[in-house]
């Protein structure tokens, strides 16, 4: 087999794998299946496949999401897919859910009372909704009184928000800049001072991936 046909073969295999699978497939996993094929070659295959889909044009693409690759439809076709599912597409998250998720995403693993401490309101109902929608999961129990249940975000969380991993989110100290950009008054000097006292900058990425637990 020439190098050229070999590459085309890889491309087809990867396409088949992604087509058959219904969750993000990691480079590592694809590489394992293809007997340790170089991950850069895999990336190139996926890049070319996407270029072909766009050229054709097809109504789908390979999305780079949740630390893996998965087929998705293009936004232009949302209208029709919604008709297909009718009322069965989950509704948008409420403000309460978004806030709760944000706190869990940044503080995970965190207990219910840890979330409540930030929001200042009871979050029982919201936590239940988020568990039901598989956006958070129970990550164990804390050491505190009553060994509280701890929550963490899921792979579905990353997928839902189109994130590759948690570090795609702005760092907690970058949020101040975003606030400033949106013209919400914040005094630079003091804000910075607060940063260091409240959220010391971590040496290592603040997040651990799901798998490491």
């Amino acid at each position: 087999m020439t190098e050229e046909t070999q590459f085309l073969e890889y491309k087809s295999i990867i396409e088949a794998l992604l087509f058959a699978y219904d969750a993000p497939l990691t480079l590592k996993e694809i590489s394992r299946i293809l007997e340790d094929l170089d991950e850069h070659v895999i990336k190139k295959c996926i890049y070319e496949l996407n270029a072909e889909y766009e050229e054709a044009p097809h109504s789908f693409q390979i999305n780079d999401v949740a630390d893996g690759y998965q087929f998705s439809t293009r936004v232009e076709y949302a209208k029709w897919i919604k008709r297909l599912y009718r009322g069965h597409i989950p509704s948008r998250l409420t403000q309460a859910s978004l806030e709760c998720l944000a706190i869990i995403a940044y503080k995970q693993p965190v207990s219910r009372s840890g979330v409540e401490a930030v929001r200042g309101v009871n979050v029982d109902g919201v936590i239940r909704t988020l568990l039901d929608r598989n956006l958070i999961r129970i990550a164990g129990r804390g050491d505190g009184v009553g060994r509280p249940i701890l929550y963490a975000t899921t792979t579905d969380f990353l997928k839902y928000f189109g994130l590759n991993n948690l570090t795609d989110l702005p760092r907690i100290d970058e949020l101040n800049d975003l606030l400033k950009d949106r013209n919400i008054d914040i005094e630079e000097e003091e804000a910075e001072e607060m940063d260091h006292s409240l959220f010391p900058k971590p040496q290592t990425p603040i997040f651990e991936r799901d798998e490491t637990e």
Binding site: P24, R32, I81, Q95, L98, A102, R119, Y160, D185
Partner: protein, 247 residues
Amino acid sequence: MTYQVQLENFEGPLDLLLFLLQEHEIDIYDIPVALITHQYLEYLELLKLLDLEMGGDYILMAATLIRIKSKMLLPRRLAEEATEEIDPRQELVQRLLEYRRYKEAAHVLGNQEDQQIDIFYRPASENWDDITDDMEPLDIGLANNLNLWDLLQSFKKVIDRVDNTFDRTIEREAITVEDRMDDIMRQLHNRDGLFFKDLFNEVTRPIIIGMFLALLELIRTRKIAFEQTDNIGEIWLYLQKQDNTSS
């Protein structure tokens, strides 16, 4: 009244406080506690007036504000002025700042949601995301350790499928569990068995519910039995052999 803005949109006492601070262009690091407490309490009155559900969280914050206010009114002792004096507002300010940060993070997530809401992935087949290398190959054999929850889960799948075509008009249909029991027994008669979901070829909610109740009754009276092909597979129903003499 200037307070008729999105009452229901407040996500709690901290959110309400942030709103009041912004509304009055108050510096978060130098909150005039007396003013803000007054405003806050006025708001609570309004919530009460509108009979909106107001959690104890709002009351707790009111108490906190009043406590801070009274602390600030107390004369400072000379000794304290010499050393670092702790501003009674400090804890509240930190909470407000922290909450505001996460509110912004929620805003970021909201934007991401906007971008992603129109992208569709293949629906995951029951939590397959966690497949790992060391996972056992699926056992295709029949498992007997099924319980009511497994059945209910299958039932939900059928109901979910029906919901797509759910007819909202209400018709009075005489569906008795007995009729459905007969129906199930008839379907299973002279067959090795059939899949749970294939029982439901008629797709109206009352029929499905009747079917399900009938099924439970038949299982209870041991006329039929069920098995599952694997952990997430279909449920297989078959006639229980009446080989004992009890009948």
